[in-house]
């Protein structure tokens, strides 16, 4: 290991090198960070990847299109529904299928619920990383309600696999609207508590304000998207710039800040939960009647060509690039995953900060490791 670090040419012999991970609780998954320290100051951090590399892109080449959808769940497991959606949208775009309105609205509703539960888990674990154990219990308590809604309709709690090319797998559960409204009422009541306990906490401020600032130009060059990019003033919301599903018929604000530090990356996510609730509000009583899927051929073959589709996940821009040679399996599939791009900025952000700030910065970028390794 030490030899590898030397290869980068940035280490010196007197540096103190420590390993964080692959089993460290604050990495939220299996990632190893090799940190080079001088005293308490971070000189260099190098992520070592591959602990959960499953070769999803290789597996895609031998699976049919409906089968691949179940693999996309397993990249970013906190935004499983949105991962399904991007692949279905790409297939539907290639086949030039018109999707019923009902499907579009269902997908948008589910996407926003996914976004809320993902940001809740971010809030919970970020609070815990910085020493607020209560956050973890509060966050997971409220997230449970969303997972129950998922379970009722889709049968799955996290890996929902609810989308299929041409629509969704099953119709909404009769309780869906009632449950979502119950959740929104409850969540509107507890969200101010989130602010009281963490956003306005002075210890939390000390640990996040001004920590790991990222400029807008850097965010663009490093390809930082999602709330992390928007906290730096980089307007990159795919829902605004290239609306898909039913995002063209709802009104919402793109949350933008200019400070770009850990605190504003956190704040952008909390504010996005509010925006997501607004989107759900606008759609929940207006779900159009109609079929929940269009009938597809039993074997889906995409016409020869290349297709690129992008969506906004809770962590940024997820793109899928499919090359088809006309067979029932794709020739090549590439996922542009937000976490992989966001990872490249880590060393740049933590350089010069203390080792305790590394946890704060790492947490504020909200990594999901299987999405990096694929």
């Amino acid at each position: 290991m030490e030899e590898k670090v030397k290869d980068t040419g940035t280490e010196e012999k007197q540096d103190y090198i420590i390993n964080i991970g692959p089993q460290h609780p604050s990495t939220h998954g299996v990632m190893r960070l090799v940190v080079s320290l001088q005293g308490e100051t971070v000189k260099y951090v190098e992520p070592h990847l591959g602990y959960i590399h499953r070769g999803i892109e290789k597996m895609c080449e031998s699976l049919t299109y409906p089968q691949i959808i179940h693999l996309t769940d397993r990249m970013d497991y906190l935004s499983a529904h949105i991962n399904n959606e991007v692949f279905c949208l790409a297939v539907e775009k290639a086949l030039e299928i018109d999707i019923p309105d009902r499907v579009k609205v269902i997908r948008t509703l589910m996407s926003e619920l996914t976004r809320i539960q993902s940001h809740e888990l971010f809030w919970a674990s970020y609070g815990m990383d910085l020493g607020g154990q209560t956050c973890f219990f509060y966050g997971l308590r409220d997230r449970e309600m969303v997972l129950d809604i998922f379970e009722e309709t889709t049968g799955g709690r996290m890996l929902v696999s609810y989308n299929c090319p041409g629509g969704v797998m099953y119709d909404l559960h009769p309780n869906f609207q009632k449950r979502v409204k119950e959740f929104l009422t409850h969540f509107r009541k507890v969200l101010p508590e989130y602010d009281e306990i963490l956003t306005n906490n002075v210890i939390f401020h000390e640990r996040t304000v001004g920590i790991g600032p990222l400029l807008r130009e850097e965010a663009i060059s490093y390809g930082i998207t999602g709330p992390s990019g928007r906290a730096s003033g980089f307007s990159c919301d795919v829902r605004k710039h290239e609306p898909y599903s039913a995002y063209d018929r709802v009104k919402f604000n793109e949350v933008l800040y200019t400070e770009g530090d850990a605190f504003h990356r956190y704040l952008a996510r909390v504010e996005e939960m509010r925006e997501s609730m607004n989107i759900i509000d606008q759609l929940i009583d207006n779900i159009p009647e109609g079929p929940y899927a269009v009938k597809m051929k039993p074997v889906i073959r995409l016409p020869e060509g290349e297709y690129y589709q992008r969506v906004e996940t809770p962590r940024g821009e997820l793109g899928v690039f499919i090359i088809s040679d006309g067979n029932k399996t794709p020739y090549r599939v590439h996922f542009r995953t937000p976490n992989f791009a966001n990872l490249s900025v880590l060393n740049h952000l933590v350089k010069g900060f203390k080792i305790a700030d590394l946890i704060s910065i790492f947490g504020s970028l909200d990594y999901v490791i299987p999405d990096i390794d694929r």
């Binding site: 590898k4 290869d7 590399h53 390809g223 980089f234 690039f321 090549r332 590439h334 990872l343 900025v345």
Partner: protein
């Protein structure tokens, strides 16, 4: 600037470039040694301003190995696809663009790791996910009888 103007403008940068309309985006086909000079013009020229590199995809076409770049301009919101191919499977070499877009650093390492594509002038070209003795799994001639069953 619409698609036709964009295609015209890119053609005017270098007469060797082949520009065509793809199904979704304008596509430019460049030889591997010209990627860097094209990329540095695309990010600087006011008319194009492609400052956001969405993704780098390495592809094994059978005889050829190729690299595909998806670019976007955050100001003009237009997209461009750059494609490049080489027939040299033993030692495929492409220009690195890591000094133009920082995000290219990890993405090029990924393409190197999974397809064995070398990027000339990359600051730190090492394996990313797999160990150095591993083959290049995304190549079509990759054989792994233990883990891949048909």
């Amino acid at each position: 600037m619409d698609k036709i103007q964009l295609a015209e403008f890119i053609k005017s940068l270098d007469s060797d470039l082949e520009v065509k309309e793809g199904k979704q985006y304008t596509e430019v086909i460049v030889p591997p040694s010209k990627i860097h000079s094209l990329a540095s013009q695309l990010i600087e020229k006011e008319e194009t301003l492609f400052d956001f590199l969405a993704c780098i995809t390495g592809v094994d076409y059978g005889h050829d190995l190729g690299v595909i770049y998806h670019l976007r301009s955050t100001k003009h919101q237009h997209m461009l696809v750059i494609k490049s191919r080489t027939t040299d499977r033993e030692n495929p070499q492409f220009d690195s663009v890591a000094d133009i877009w920082e995000t290219a650093n990890l993405q090029e390492r990924e393409a190197f790791d999974l397809l064995g594509i070398k990027f000339v002038n990359h600051p730190d070209l090492r394996r990313l996910f797999l160990t150095s003795s591993w083959g290049f799994p995304l190549r079509k001639d990759y054989v792994d009888n233990d883990n891949i069953t048909s």
